[in-house]
């Protein structure tokens, strides 16, 4: 009798349905990259025009929008920095705008109201772009892991300029460097 019951239990166990298998994938490889786009999400041309301003005025034109696509899979906190590597100058006239004339702010837009849809800290207040790096966005402590379906964090930045009152007329151009760093 015991044997029969044991046989029954054994067959019952063998007949388990459903059955399952565990699967483990080891994700490998490193990503640490910065891609610049314009306001329309096209690759940035490498130059933007802040338009024409009168002395004593300040503007953040839409043509000064750059979106920094920050991609890191390290799982550690990273920073997006901006610095001015060449001052705004008119070489033909020998004129140079003072350091701090170029400005940047985290863009406030319908897609990014107060930058709140980004998981990290976007500096939405305007700040001067100096000849040393300044942080415009800090990721979460885990590098924004999981945000945007793991496709990266796209940080909208708006560059502007403030022209000193007594600045002579000229065609000023300079260079800005954006850096992704841990």
């Amino acid at each position: 009798m015991r044997k029969i019951i044991l046989l029954g239990v054994l067959i019952g166990l063998l007949a388990a349905n459903p059955e399952a298998v565990n699967l483990a994938v080891n994700v490998v490889g490193n990503t640490f990259a910065l891609e610049l786009q314009d306001a329309s999400a096209f690759p940035a041309a490498g130059a933007f025009d802040l338009g024409s301003l009168a002395p004593g005025s300040k503007d953040f034109p839409v043509t000064g929008v750059i979106v920094a696509g920050c991609k890191s899979n390290s799982g550690r906190q990273w920073y997006l920095q901006v610095e001015q590597t060449e001052p705004l100058s008119d070489p033909a006239k020998g004129l140079v705008l003072p350091e701090g004339s170029l400005l940047v702010r985290g863009l406030l837009s319908a897609r990014s109201p107060n930058g709140k849809n980004l998981p990290g800290n976007l500096v939405a207040a305007e700040q001067k772009v100096l000849n040393r790096p300044g942080i415009v966005y800090s990721s979460t402590a885990r590098g924004d892991a999981g945000f945007n379906n793991y496709e990266g964090t796209y940080v909208p930045l708006n560059f502007g300029v403030k022209i000193p009152d007594a600045m002579p007329e000229g065609n000023y151009s300079g260079r800005v460097l954006l850096t992704l760093t841990e």
């Binding site: 059955e19 298998v21 699967l23 994938v25 496709e151």
Partner: protein, 154 residues
Amino acid sequence: MKKIIFSILLVVLLHADLMVDVRPKELNADNVLRFNAEVGSGFYGASEGSIKITIDRNGADLSKKKVYLKMDDWQSPDGLSLPNGNLQWKIYHKTNGVAISPSDWVAYSTYETPAFELDDSTGHIEIELGTMLRYVPPVQPNGEYRTRIEVLVD
């Protein structure tokens, strides 16, 4: 005596049950299907990603023809996940006994989904499923992500 007859009947009835076995094609110590995938890329169907399903039916259970597949949500020790829908299966090899099956890659679902259909024949059925992880996003942190694939015949 009645108890013995009842028990024999019970065993006979249990015999009518189907037997399903699911395991990695390449057996390993902990019986887990393992493979590597590069960020910005994926994993395409090599042998270490294959699953072997064995089904034995007889008696009343020949009426159970549908084979369902279901996967759990991905999990990592850090509480991260991989996108669902990127893990896919395809029949690489099958013995007689499978009546209807897709020929192309099909995404695993977190819902119980009919995958293929068996015919009326008795006997031992073996099915080998290939695995493709279509795309691992570029910003996916390194580490081991786990899921569980369930096979149900009904």
